[in-house]
Symmetry: C2
Subunit: 218 residues, 2 copies
DNA sequence: CTTAATTTTTAGACAAATCTAAAAATTTGT
DNA sequence: ACAAATTTTTAGATTTGTCTAAAAATTAAG
């Protein structure tokens, strides 16, 4: 399994998760930041290896074998992200690029021991669940912050938009995973809200509140 | 800089360290477990990038730029080995293969933070010095155990042969880095010796004692 | 000091992963 | 339902890193 094949597999897995439909070649190309012709070539190769089913012009779906491989890569990615944040003082927005490289290291023992070293974490620094050794991914009950009503309380459990810009913005606002959030006021006009994060009271836009996931606690 | 280029650079660096002469193409090919023609091709490419000086039929020498790059890779390799042994319970003989992969991860911050996390170690699990951020490699005063005389004492500071077989053998004998070793008896006939390692008294062959480095303490 | 052995290089081929440009299939709009 | 727009595939080229086989240079031996 080459680096590039693994990256395609991961991209296709994510796209299939979003739509639960067969994945169009163009969508793959876009996610991989490459040309449709390159995506076609790769999809054919992965199809020969039985990691996915591909019908020309009909898009692709991962086979169980392909899915299992993709999940392993995601497990590695999320464990490494956790290590970087917990032990090497990386911030949320810095981890992705490095984890993209580390996720391709091949060693079952390494990843098993890393998991143990980290204390078998359930989620990564963005709140996304870390698949277990068998490839099971826990479903995390979450709502977008925007859905909460005045007086509602919740715990920050993740973000939807993992872009560096958004994560830096959250850092500035001192919002991080595990924080207690209470809705003080909702503004009907522009859907902005005033919230209390731990001890601080701040105002955030509708766009921001739609990208923050919480587990409701009241 | 591709993965393969980095591996060649590292190989050439090590060969140049051993002989302090210009490195023959065949030696490179042998170390890389590839064919001479492949080594020629690569050496030409690295020469164009000014990482080494290459004269057809005359062998190659790294430029300062090439040397500096090779040392960075070695620094990463040795830091990762230290991490694997210290934090993930790998044994000496298991680390090499994984470190060969990890050494190619590109991130200055990662390696800086890893160094800090490990407490700025001076040597890796085999006793080899870890280059500092500027690329300086500390010289470690060491002798082969075989050179010690009866009654001499030393501390185990490294091994010459890092093969899995030899390292496993040392593990079985309970010899590891930092152990106090005392020569009880030298056998002139076959150059084997009886030594005391910490509390245990054992007998080792000439071959083994020539592959263990010690810092003499008496 | 020539010939033989060895080392090294060149030439040509191949696989992986990509690209551009053009052809083919599918979907959409009227 | 037919032409237009879009999506997808094919064909052919390129780069990286490798190989084999043959040629060229160097070194060793009688």
């Amino acid at each position: 399994m080459t680096l590039s094949e693994e990256n395609y597999l991961k991209a296709i897995f994510n796209l299939e998760e979003q739509t639960h439909k067969s994945v169009p070649t163009n969508a793959i190309a876009e996610m991989m930041e490459t040309k449709a012709s390159s995506a076609t070539d790769m999809v054919k190769r992965l199809s020969e290896k039985e990691l996915l089913k591909y019908k020309p012009y009909q898009g692709t779906r991962l086979t169980p074998k392909g899915k299992s491989h993709a999940v392993k890569v995601i497990r590695k990615h999320r464990l490494w992200e956790t290590f970087l944040v917990e032990n090497l003082d990386f911030s949320w927005d810095e981890v992705h690029e490095v984890a993209e490289q580390l996720e391709h290291i091949q060693s079952d023992k390494l990843i098993h021991q890393l998991d143990k070293f980290l204390g078998y974490p359930k989620t990564d620094p963005h709140g996304d669940p870390i698949p277990d050794e068998e490839g099971n991914i826990a479903k995390i009950k979450k709502k977008v912050l925007a859905e909460l009503q005045q007086e509602d309380e919740g715990i920050c459990v993740g973000v939807d938009d993992s872009s560096s810009a958004f994560l830096k913005y959250l850092d500035k606002l001192d919002i991080s995973l595990g924080n207690k959030i209470k809705v003080i006021e909702k503004e009907a006009f522009d859907n902005s809200m005033v919230i209390q994060v731990e001890e601080n009271t701040i105002s955030i836009s509708s766009l921001a509140s739609k990208n923050i996931y919480v587990r409701k606690t009241s």
